[in-house]
Symmetry: C2
Subunit: 490 residues, 2 copies
């Protein structure tokens, strides 16, 4: 089997055909990755930081070429993609900066305490070590920031792990070009050969996550694909951590006090909902609004003016249309639609399904199907208690949002309900637009993440690939001989 | 089915019969646990700390009675068990102290940064919240420190989780008495009813880990039992974190420079190996020694003077004997034995299997069977490279030890090899005796832990039950209204 790029705006195939990576090639890739990890993980952290900065510089230098290829493969547009390259290199440099500062990787000292146990104990140095070679599965909707050199790869490399990427079939050229640029930059800067590698094809994906030498997996994508890989990772003779972001139906709640200007609010909702043709894991899938005819009227009028964007791939469109049809039937909601579409490429008309909290309480499980694309569900409510009740029935989400006046007496209960089922709660802000920041948490209860304790965005993402090792009773000279990293709290 | 205590020194059953917890009772326990968690998790952390201190006080006040019951059920002896109660209450108080100090649970502020992304971002408050109700499976070999109120329960309660314990069938009375004391103390101190609960029986164990309301599991015990529970936890519609300590074959390496006094070293080895009849997850299962006839001679002589202790249960003895017989056959090792046993209870003669590195390299996988009891394997070697090669073939371990002079030129390579496969490396110290300290790491690559990133001992154990939640763009007043905890780095 071969993989070839498809232009989602036209449906036409183009460019080179990528052969599926063979089992023998995989074996060589992983063997090299394991050897590289031995060296890469034991380099001084600031040296790894310097090399990561060189990778970021190389990507920036090739940004124009990368954006051109990615735009043809994904249809996401050059403005968005140029911004995404900037976000990707910012992310890589954030990890580099942390490494150079010694954050996250410096050992901590727990000095010896005289006396018998339980109070007394020997001296401990608590350190972290790279978990080992990591398999990263890129996402289709962020061909840079969550793909070959996205947050998963950047954080794993920063942790001292080698990385084997499984290229996403919806942007094989972007993947291969990115990895080629990065491998050259790493090699020029002194990283061991094999620290970063790539493979193509469905079978490669299944084989890499079950390879006994791979020590962790990271994935961003669909619930079906992610769960299948999670199951493979957990059923190994030696199960490994699998950091999967499997999708999220993100609730947005607006109270009366937050709906002062219904028409403007409707426009802002559509901006967030239809950004990137709705193909964001932080898409505002469910909007809870008080019964308000002015808002619904404005929504309908403004939606008619919105264009459809292309889907990332034919498979994405087919799945979206299937889920949307099922949602229409299951919810019995009223449909309002955007501009009709007339194109040979992969497009669907934007659509909002309007229903009520009372209606959805009959079977709230219907609300947990992620419709990845230009489709939103608006749920009207008469009492805040209805919203809280429905939120308790939802699956885990990456983010929940509340629009309200800060003094709104219903805000506290709504924030609690949102915090219980999501990893981030945003106040008077839309869910899309995930800042790369130390305070960020991009995760949440399953299926938002298969590992609810960890984030895939921001500097804390490095923690996923660092395992603690405690050195007990080590003389300073011996510890210095086995580590490059300076000790904190000495 | 009912569960009754058995005295392992005599093989006789005694005391009350505990009925297996029914499905209906389980449902009520978990419903109450979920309600309690809502309240317990939102209490101010220092209030939870105060209640945990009250629990520790209550256990200490009942120590004599608890030790008496536990000694009859486990045969571990009153001296050891009295020490273990002290360790258990020390552990509970450590978490209480951390909560009162605001460690681990205080939100951190990431102040807003002006400008466009990726540099600019809104204000984030990164907080942690209790993951939800936790199922804890107690271990047989530590009826206090790793059982009903052991580190798993203490850390989960500290995190704000409610806990449902599955009592270990080898010490049902100790389990029930402990939980009764703790529940009364918690209730008197103001904890919500249902914060701590217990159930008995094999079916209860399977049902509790698959209950959709349970949000995490913690386990210390055998590889077979732990893996079965891990598999159940991971195959749920919503998989949950499962912190399992499934057993560990811990390597101890001594170099020529560390073997200055072979006879004393042999005695110290036997002390560590036979402590608690060898029933420790940190037992020194494999000892690598240079070819040294004086050591082997001393070992044989001293072993003959050692008494057998009782096994914790008949099941533990049966499994130990089966694994030992298989090891004897698989390794073709020379056997040396301790004192013969003459008792109706559950005893086996202590035994050391002596083989060579060259012999074991033919099939190193043989060394990965944990023989939980008074059995050790001694592997003689002529070159350090042989040891390093064998260590690379071992499964993950909780702890690896090196005895050597600090200036020994072979130490660095051996430390690297030990750190690669274990969670703790001890220098010139035996693996048994796990200090409860902030610098401790009690975990390791699978099967030492099913979650290699986390420790089950020491204050960091709380991290297993705290999931991050980020609050974005929250005004200070609104955040204050939803949380009791003071904000750090403001």
């Amino acid at each position: 089997m071969t993989i070839q790029s498809v232009n989602p705006r036209t449906g036409e195939s183009f460019g080179p055909k990528f052969a599926s990576t063979t089992a023998q090639a995989l074996d060589e890739i992983v063997a090299a990755s394991e050897r590289a990890c031995e060296v890469w993980s034991m380099m001084a952290a600031d040296e790894r930081g310097r090399i990561l900065n060189a990778v970021a510089d190389a990507l920036d230098a090739h940004a124009e070429k990368l954006v051109e290829i990615a735009d043809l493969e994904t249809g996401l547009g050059k403005v968005r993609l140029t911004g995404e390259v900037g976000r990707t290199t910012f992310q890589i440099r954030s990890f580099a900066t942390a490494l150079i500062a010694g954050d996250f990787i410096s050992p901590t000292v727990d000095a010896a305490v005289d006396g018998a146990p339980p109070q007394g104990h020997p001296k401990f140095l608590r350190t972290v070590r790279a978990i080992g070679p990591v398999a990263v599965f890129g996402a289709s909707n962020f061909p840079f920031a969550f793909s070959v050199l996205g947050g998963d790869t950047a954080s794993a490399l920063a942790a001292g792990c080698s990385v084997v990427v499984k290229a996403h079939p919806a942007h094989p050229q972007t993947s291969q070009t990115t990895v080629d640029i990065a491998i050259k930059a790493m090699s020029d800067a002194g990283a061991p050969a094999g620290t970063l590698a790539i493979g193509h094809g469905f079978e490669f994906g299944k084989a890499i996550i079950t390879d006994p030498r791979i020590c962790a997996g990271a994935f961003t994508g669909s619930k079906a694909g992610g769960r299948a890989l999670f199951d493979l990772a957990q059923s190994r003779p030696n199960p490994i951590p699998f950091y999967g972001e499997l999708g999220s139906v993100n609730p947005v709640v607006v109270t009366e006090s937050g709906l002062a200007d219904p028409a403007t609010f409707a426009g802002a909702y559509l901006d967030s909902l239809l950004m990137g043709n709705g193909q964001f894991c932080t898409n505002p899938g469910l909007l809870f609004v008080p019964e308000n005819s002015e808002f619904l009227q404005a929504l309908q009028e403004q939606l008619l003016l919105r264009d459809a964007g292309p889907f990332l791939s034919e498979a994405t469109k087919v799945l979206h249309d299937k889920v949307r049809t099922a949602l229409e039937e299951a919810t019995g909601a009223k449909k309002v639609s955007g501009k009709a579409v007339d194109s040979l490429g992969f497009f669907s008309t934007p659509e909002i399904l309007i229903t009520s909290a009372g209606q959805m309480m009959k079977d709230p499980s219907k609300l947990s199907a992620e419709c990845f694309g230009p489709t939103g569900i608006v749920i009207t409510y008469s009492k805040v208690a209805e919203v809280i009740s429905l939120l308790a029935h939802l699956e885990g989400a990456l983010v929940g949002c509340l629009f309200a006046a800060p003094t709104d007496h219903s805000a506290v209960a709504l924030v609690h309900a949102l915090a219980k089922m999501s990893g981030r709660v945003a106040f008077n802000a839309w869910p899309t637009g995930v800042a790369v920041a130390a305070g960020q948490h991009h995760g949440g209860p399953y299926p938002a993440s298969t590992s609810t304790l960890h984030t895939s965005v921001g500097i804390h993402a490095i923690e996923r690939f660092l395992r603690p090792v405690t050195f007990q009773g080590f003389p300073d000279e011996l510890y210095a001989a086995i580590s490059h990293d300076s000790v904190k709290g000495k």
